[in-house]
């Protein structure tokens, strides 16, 4: 990889495959995250998001393929790579016996770029008592503590694994604000995986969908929304099952009105609808959630057929 590539793409994954016994967790995954962007990773539970993030941290060795973070192999050079990454794990894996202040002091020793004033500021914003033990903190407070130590050294890459899962709206707001602030500072990148697609829609520049270890979609968010459409058809007579139209990902409805989320090829779809003597009642842009559900359900139906 050329040096310009290194600086342009902090994260580069090529042809990554990973098996655990017989199950295939990741299947030939290709990913390139551009600098200064917010990259959203969406997928069902067990689709492979956490596995992918673990590869970026060097916690798993690629069985085939290549992983490069800042142009380096995270397994060969954990110091350099991890020193520039701020990581919030899915299950907030913090030592429960530590106090908040101790956690800050301990983490500070590892990162030369730690900003003490900023850390103190964050701690006050998050309202964390410095002498409280982590085991006595609530779930939201633990997430905040984890986020604090991930942000305070101003990492070039912020890696968040399901940051908002199980948290109240106030904490979620704090997390989103942290993501926005990170990206607003020059050259810093954010990669986060989430189930909450409305959040992904708000902050992500680029979205990748994983389904059963394969990347089914990876494009800038604007492009995804332009490409997909939601269309409602009204048929002349009631139907019990949705019609078979090419390009339609997912159908919903009953009786005479049926709504589909479709992937491009709007004109072809309208033509087919006209052939079936159905009129187009409504047309619109679907939300990311509808697109995601549509794609996953298609995937599931396809796998069932196979």
């Amino acid at each position: 990889m050329s040096s310009s590539d290194k600086s342009e793409h902090p994260v580069q994954v090529e042809g990554l495959t990973r098996r655990f016994g017989k199950t295939v967790a990741l299947d030939n995954v290709d990913l390139a995250v551009r600098r200064g962007l917010v990259f959203g990773l969406v997928g069902e539970n067990g689709a492979g998001k956490t596995t992918l993030i673990k590869h970026l941290l060097g916690l798993l060795k690629p069985q085939t393929g290549k992983v490069r973070v800042f142009g380096l192999d995270p397994i060969e050079k954990p110091e350099e790579v991890l020193g520039e990454i701020g990581y919030l794990s899915e299950n907030r894996d913090l030592p429960t016996w530590m106090r908040v202040r101790e956690l800050m002091l301990y983490t500070q020793a590892f990162y030369p770029k730690w900003d003490e004033a900023f850390a103190e500021d964050l701690r006050e914003t998050f309202e964390l008592d410095p002498s409280a033990r982590i085991r006595s903190l609530s779930r939201g407070q633990r997430a905040k503590a984890g986020l604090l130590v991930a942000l305070a050294h101003r990492p070039a890459l912020l890696l968040l694994d399901e940051p908002s899962s199980g948290l109240d709206p106030v904490v979620r707001r704090d997390i989103l604000t942290a993501i926005i602030r990170t990206v607003a500072e020059e050259g810093r990148t954010v990669l986060f995986s989430s189930h909450l697609l409305d959040e992904v829609e708000r902050v992500a520049d680029h979205v990748a969908m994983i389904h059963k270890g394969k990347i089914t979609l990876s494009a800038p968010l604007d492009e995804i929304k332009e490409r997909h459409c939601r269309i409602t058809l009204r048929f002349s007579e009631s139907r019990t099952a949705p019609p078979e139209l090419a390009g339609a990902l997912w159908w919903e409805g009953r009786g005479q009105e049926w709504t589909a989320v479709c992937d491009g090829r709007l004109d072809a779809l309208k033509q087919q609808a006209a052939e079936m003597s159905a009129e187009v009642v409504e047309e619109g842009v679907p939300t990311l959630e509808e697109i995601f559900v549509g794609r996953v359900k298609t995937g599931r139906a396809a796998s069932r057929e196979v």
Binding site: L176, T177, R181, A184, R202, D205, D222, K225, V285
Partner: protein, 131 residues
């Protein structure tokens, strides 16, 4: 300045911002020379990506509605609303369409609707005179 972002519309976020700012300028709530919040602050306020806000500001700049003063921030340009008559007509057309659809649903024909509009216009001028 209060902007609202809705994800259900299907309208891209940056376009929502652009439209709302245009409306605020056109309706006078943002006067010429008023300062707009910095990109980062607006992004944090609305909880959206700063790049989206940056894109909206860029579009408004190219349209001439905003000017960027180096080091000092983004301001509404002094030239007043540079929207062409055609653009302004387009905004109104959208509103008129919505009104007409609503009227039809409520079983008002065009004559009744025009009467209603006239009555309201008179009301507005009366209030203006009072002020």
């Amino acid at each position: 300045m209060r902007l609202h972002i809705s994800l259900d519309d299907g309208v891209p976020i940056y376009l929502q911002i652009v439209n709302q700012i245009k409306y605020l300028v056109a309706s006078g709530r943002l006067g010429p020379g008023d300062e707009l919040p910095p990109i980062r602050v607006l992004a944090e306020q609305l909880l959206i990506n700063p790049n989206t806000v940056a894109r909206a500001y860029r579009e408004l700049e190219t349209a001439g509605i905003l000017t960027k003063r180096r080091g000092a921030g983004t301001y509404v340009s002094d030239k007043g609303s540079p929207l062409t008559r055609r653009e302004r007509a387009r905004i109104l057309e959208g509103r008129a369409d919505a009104l007409l659809v609503e009227a039809q649903q409520l079983n008002f024909d065009l004559e009744e609707l025009t009467q209603l509009i006239r009555k309201r216009a008179q009301q507005f001028t009366k209030e203006d005179r009072k002020r």
